[in-house]
């Protein structure tokens, strides 16, 4: 194989239509970072006409992209040179040696400019393996017109959400209108939902000592609330159990739900000119349970950009990475596309003052909850799977909430002690 690859590479280089000194392949989805990707590529090529950049548009469903990466990375494929990784994979990929360590490859100052707590997610053995591109979180979207019609305040607690949803659905008397929609299919988003609900009740994945405690009384109570919202109060449609983020967004956008709980990206389609709910919705921080008004309820996500250790153009890739995640590019993405910057200095730029939407996102991030991916590393996919499965068991009433969470706890203890 050793002699085949250079021959292949030469042949391909000769066959390539555009004659660039070097070619870089970048894998990233088209929805997450939106128009910024194209802008950054064009911006970089304007400065470096000798470097060709090919954008490999991967799926915006993270699970699908992950499978694609896993196949290429285990086979040690040299392409893509750079690829976007979900915050929850950063630690795992770094541990598996699937991300090139960036210390030494980039200037120390470049790395130091980033929010250190975000960098931690991609840090293994003290080395940073990917740079945070943007952060996002789960928010609580509501219909301003419906709240107004019934003289309701924006709900702050889950008890208020339940009461408001009840008032609205009963008042409207339309079987096509639901109270609450979100992404409760058996996907990562379900675990994010659960973290928001349980943290809002003073619970969470870990207890105060940092031990896994998914079956705590606070968690059982919050999970029971989710089950009751669906089965007892009938405020969520049955289809919530199959809904992915875009399914929930579509229902809300068509005016068929009062409340919606998903990530930042829905803001653009919801407020687009052709959206039936444009101008009729707003968002706030994910609610908490009574008595927990300072609880962190914004489950955080985000994407990193890293370099393939098998890339044949690491130096060039590092230069492009520095540009792509740089302050100027982040400022443009923030001001124009509401993407939350990961370099604190960007927030101080005067241009940021005009972006109210991003300021509101930012206020919610202040109540951020991170998933236990850094702490569990390569085990995280298993951890998330256990949680998704057992929460689903509870939501489908295959098990009582207590049974499901006890089972989850037992499986996690077994898994993490190995």
């Amino acid at each position: 194989m050793k002699f085949v690859m250079p021959i292949l590479a030469t042949t391909m280089a000769l066959a390539a239509p555009a004659a660039y000194a070097q070619d870089l392949v970048l894998s990233i989805g088209s929805r997450g970072y939106g128009p910024a990707v194209e802008r950054n590529i064009e911006g970089y090529q304007a400065e470096h006409p000798d470097i060709g950049i090919e954008w490999n548009k991967v799926s915006d469903v993270p699970g699908e992209t992950r499978k694609l990466y896993v196949t290429g990375l285990t086979a040690k494929s040299p392409t893509p040179d750079l690829f976007a990784v979900d915050v929850i994979w950063a630690g795992e990929f770094a541990q598996r040696g699937w991300l090139e360590p960036l210390n030494g490859l980039l200037d120390d100052g470049t790395i130091a400019a980033f929010n250190p707590s975000l960098l931690d997610a991609a840090k293994v053995d003290g080395k940073v393996h990917a740079l945070p591109l943007y952060a996002d979180g789960i928010h609580f979207f509501y219909r301003t017109d419906l709240l107004e019609r019934y003289g309701l305040e924006v709900p702050q607690t889950w008890q208020e959400v339940q009461a408001a949803a009840q008032t609205i659905t009963e008042g409207e008397g339309n079987p096509q209108l639901y109270g609450f929609v979100s992404m409760w299919a058996k996907i990562e988003g379900l675990f994010m939902n659960w973290l928001a609900f349980t943290n809002g009740n003073g619970g969470g994945f870990y207890d105060a000592e940092g031990n896994v405690a998914v079956n705590s009384p606070a968690n059982i109570e919050a999970t029971q609330f989710m089950v009751d919202l669906l089965h007892k109060h009938r405020l969520a449609p049955d289809s919530i159990l199959n809904a992915r983020p875009d399914d929930a967004r579509t229902l809300f956008q068509q005016g068929r739900a009062a409340f919606l709980m998903v990530q930042d990206f829905v803001y653009a389609p919801l407020s687009a000119d052709d959206s039936p709910v444009a101008g009729k919705f707003d968002f706030t921080r994910v609610p908490y349970f009574e008595g927990h008004d300072d609880a962190d309820t914004t489950t955080m996500g985000g994407w990193f950009l890293g370099i393939n250790p098998n890339s044949e153009n690491k130096e060039a890739a590092a230069d492009f990475l520095t540009f792509f995640t740089g302050k100027e590019q982040q400022l443009a993405a923030a001001v124009e596309d509401n993407r939350a910057p990961t370099i604190p200095a960007v927030y101080e730029d005067p241009a940021m003052a005009d972006n109210e939407v991003l300021a509101k996102f930012g206020a919610n991030y202040a109540f951020g909850v991170v998933r236990p991916s850094a702490g569990t590393g390569a085990d995280y996919p298993r951890v998330s799977e256990v949680m998704q499965l057992e929460i689903t068991n509870a939501l489908h009433r295959q098990k009582t909430v207590e049974e499901a969470l006890n089972d989850a706890q037992a499986q996690l203890e077994d898994l993490l002690s190995r």
Partner: protein, 297 residues
């Protein structure tokens, strides 16, 4: 049976071998090698990129498998799916074949229409059905709600029993026509004289079917059964695209479970053990069919 080959025969023999060898080599490379590799992987612990050298662990992965509820569930789901869909496909397939064998107007168009579901890729079919099953926008719920049969949308793919039933319906819709095609070929090879003789003896249409058609169709039916059962036992695109194995794990087939273990959890060795078990199940079933076939002759 021993006989000496003439030089000419021997040369023909060699030419034949020469023609067959490349095919055999390719089959060995793309069929036999991966199967052996799966066995090897399943008895050890390693990483595919070579960062962790292969270490023999014996039956450890199989022990984990035997103790895993999820594995037994996947095996059960696979068997239930196969057991439900194959008889339905066979029944409908025979019916379709008998119909298509009759002379009527637009026979060509009818045959084409029957083959249509089979000609489309499973993944595409499945996505189309998923939309029809959709709880909020789907065709079935629109029909059910508007006709007043139900007052709340039915969550077709979100209920354990309904999800399995929905999956079987898609499989039957798609592959009955395949059964029909093979059986139709069999039907057309039955000599007309037999039916004429039957009619002379005063047989009814039903008697003709029972006494002439069915016995002579045994061969084609067995072939269709083998091919379809093997297909059903390794079903992947259907649950992957329709339900992703849900709700919970109610439609998670062995293939889908193995896929998740390998690509989500990146546990190639454990995944290989699942694949080996699946291989053995299909192998056993094929043997059963083949033995039945042989006994018949």
């Amino acid at each position: 049976m021993t006989r000496t080959l003439s030089p000419l025969d021997r040369r023909r023999h060699l030419t034949g071998m020469a023609f067959v060898t490349p095919t055999l080599l390719v089959i060995t490379a793309i069929l036999v090698y991966p199967i052996l590799q799966s066995f090897v992987l399943s008895f050890g612990q390693s990483s595919l990129d070579g960062s962790e050298p292969y270490r023999f662990v014996g039956l450890q992965h199989y022990a984990t498998l035997a103790a895993s509820d999820r594995f037994w569930n996947a095996l059960w789901v696979t068997l239930v799916f196969t057991g439900l869909s194959i008889p339905l496909e066979l029944g409908i397939g025979i019916g379709l074949a008998v119909l298509m064998n009759e002379h009527f107007r637009f026979k060509g168009i009818a045959r084409l229409a029957v083959l249509f579901p089979w000609a489309l890729p499973t993944a595409l079919n499945t996505l189309m059905w998923r939309w029809m099953y959709n709880t909020d926008y789907g065709l079935f719920n629109a029909a059910a709600l508007q006709s007043g049969l139900v007052d709340r949308p039915i969550n077709w793919l979100g209920d354990e029993t309904l999800a399995m039933a929905s999956m079987v319906v898609v499989a039957v819709w798609k592959t009955s026509s395949f059964m029909a095609l093979i059986i139709l070929a069999g039907l057309q090879s039955i000599p007309r004289e037999l039916y004429e003789a039957g009619r002379m003896d005063g047989m009814t249409r039903w008697q003709e079917f029972r006494e002439i058609t069915l016995p002579l169709l045994k061969g084609p039916i067995l072939v269709a059964l083998i091919v379809r059962s093997m297909d059903a036992l390794r079903t992947f695109e259907l649950p992957f695209n329709l339900t992703d194995g849900g709700p919970v794990t109610a439609t998670e087939s062995l293939s889908l479970y193995a896929y998740k273990v390998i690509f989500d959890f990146i546990e190639f060795n454990y995944g290989a053990a699942i694949v080996v078990v699946q291989f053995l199940v299909i192998f056993a079933m094929s043997l059963l069919y083949i033995l039945t076939l042989r006994n018949r002759d």
